[in-house]
């Protein structure tokens, strides 16, 4: 690396390492807050929707094939499977909607025979479809649905897609067989809050570092001392950004670890299914890598953004005064992903912050698109670079440095 960039970066890193308070606020606190905030919300949601450990789930089934019946049979699943008829389904669906029973499975007649002869490559008819009706507003219904869905999905896999599961039908065109009348507020809230909190805590981590360093340097009169040297403004800006980025990365990793540890607590029912949830079972290695890269790109972006704000400000106080409304923008952008949910519009993935929120939401929902997230990460990095360039040119402005 270039000597000047390295020297400036090194100085920044040494300075922050020697400032215990700053180090704590920037690196330890955000991760801890992510964990605490998410755990607390998870706890609250458990308290509100919690299902008694010995609850036996009521599973109504039409035309239940023997193989599936065996799958659902194990005692520890606590599924009480009740065969029923097609004629009964309207009544049962009403009961589900009223939160009086858990789920309803509807298999086509002769399911096993149909599946056995179905060949996806030559078929003209749609594959046999299995419907599962549930109600996410009823916790036991949601849990039963997730357990049964996992089992059927595994079976589906082993049969190389010879039938479909909750495919759209004439009646249910969107393929949503969830009879929740009031959306499960807590789940929705979690979906919104998780990316938002994660992004916001990375931002606050940066905010505890950058104004103090950049505006502080102006305020203390040490910036001018740098500027009389032959080192280029660009190199100085880059060195400073990288030095700060080093810590904001630590801060992002802290938030990331906090997020990982709190994941098990935020998905009600998840632990029922897979026992003690380990991170690796929940996210694929690719998901974790993508999350980490999103955090990295975000922290670089925030450092650059806050550096520009701080260079423009006369004092640390002023920089923080501008950064606080920025935090609200970040908060809104962070919530956007959960609200917009799974959009594939490329344009959205170019919008910094919002794109990361989309990405994190997608990863949590196991719908991550590597392309979209790569676009988001690259976009964040490009914006960070542009802002660092802006900071460098601001160093050239005497108005900004000597006013």
């Amino acid at each position: 690396m270039n000597n000047v960039v390295f020297a400036v970066m090194k100085k920044e890193i040494i300075r922050i390492f020697n400032d215990k308070k700053l180090l704590f606020a920037a690196v330890i606190l955000p991760g801890f807050l992510v964990f605490a905030a998410i755990s607390l919300t998870g706890l609250m949601s458990d308290m509100m929707t919690g299902v008694d450990e010995n609850h036996v789930y009521e599973v109504h089934a039409v035309n239940l094939p023997d193989t599936i019946a065996t799958l659902l049979a194990p005692q520890e699943l606590r599924l009480n499977v009740m065969p029923t008829t097609l004629a009964e389904t309207p009544r049962i669906r009403e009961e589900i909607a009223d939160q009086n029973t858990d789920i309803l499975l509807v298999f086509p007649p002769n399911f096993e025979a149909d599946v056995a002869i179905f060949d996806p490559s030559t078929a003209t008819e749609p594959a046999p479809n299995v419907e599962m009706w549930s109600n996410s507003a009823r916790a036991s219904s949601a849990e039963a649905a997730s357990i049964v869905a996992a089992l059927i999905n595994a079976y589906h896999h082993s049969l190389t897609h010879r039938f479909t599961f909750n495919a759209p039908t004439a009646e249910v065109t969107d393929g949503i067989f969830d009879l929740a009348t009031a959306a499960d507020l807590m789940a929705l809230l979690l979906g919104l809050m998780l990316p938002m909190m994660f992004i916001l805590f990375i931002f606050t981590g940066c905010q505890s570092l950058v104004p103090e360093s950049v505006a502080g340097e102006k305020e203390r009169g040490t910036l001018g001392t740098l500027l009389v040297t032959t080192a280029s403004r660009k190199q100085m800006a880059l060195g400073k950004t990288l030095g700060l980025a080093f810590f904001s990365l630590l801060s992002a990793v802290g938030s990331f670890v906090g997020l990982m540890f709190s994941v098990g607590q935020m998905m009600p029912g998840a632990d029922e299914l897979i026992g003690d949830v380990s991170i690796l079972e929940f996210f694929s290695v690719q998901d974790i890598l993508l999350l980490l890269l999103i955090s990295v790109s975000l922290s670089l972006l925030f450092v650059a953004l806050l550096s520009v704000i701080s260079t423009y400000s006369k004092s640390v106080k002023e920089a923080n005064a501008v950064a606080t409304p920025m935090a609200i923008v970040v908060l809104i952008g962070g919530m956007g992903g959960g609200l917009a949910g799974g959009t594939d519009m490329l344009l959205f993935h170019l919008i910094p912050i919002f794109n990361s929120s989309l990405g994190i939401t997608a990863i949590i929902n196991s719908e991550a698109s590597v392309l979209n997230i790569t676009v988001a990460i690259v976009s964040n990095l490009v914006f960070a670079m542009i802002l660092t360039g802006v900071m460098a040119s601001m160093f050239n402005s005497e108005k900004i440095v000597f006013d």
Binding site: N3, R220, T222, T225, L226, V228, T229, A231
Partner: protein, 258 residues
Amino acid sequence: MKEILNVKNLTKKFKLTKKQQESKNIKTPYFAAVDNVSFKSYEGEVFGLLGPNGAGKTTTMRMIATLINASAGDADVNGFSIIKHPLEVRRNIGFLTNELKLDEFFTPNFHFDFFAELRGIPKNVASRRKAELFDRFGLGKYADVKIGKLSQGNKQKASLAISIVHDPAIVIFDEPTNGLDVVTAKVVTDFLVELKRSGKSVILSTHIFGLLENLCDRVGIIINGKMVACDTVSALAGENSLEEMFFDIYHKTTSEDV
């Protein structure tokens, strides 16, 4: 003698806010802090800039050091124009002022190495120079004490040493003895004489007449941004003291303005 600095009609205009206009009692939105200032300084010479508060001394020095842009005019530093070759100018200049500070968190040792690195000075050259300068200023004991913990005097000595890591041909010192006790002030002024003897061109701003009389070969007097007199100390003062001469000129100039 070789000409090191040639300041040519240097001018700095500041745009004023309404408030500043009122407080300075100026009608126009622009105000010339430095107005058409020209002077030269040579190798092995100390040039003094004398002027009351707000005369434009610091502003002139900042322009020469390329920290701020000139509104008009130019200056050549060791042959390099401050406008066309600011980088070369910075290579040839050492600038020390009270407003440019060292980071309180770091030691003189760290700072010296840091600034040597920023200026691209080879490590062995830098460490030899550090040993020399720290020895010269008796900073050895304090080399590893944080700047924030140093006394005012040691702070200034450290700043002085660090401002000339790169052994510049011209050193510009803005009120270098400000706030120092007589003992430390003497260390600083003695060092300025050494610099001059070693062939550097030293530009110095001060309010202290004694300093000018003892140290400076030539003096420029700036009042309200204008260079009103510029000559050797003896030619300027003549029979009188420099102080009497200054007030003479000061009253003449300011009464003309009013």
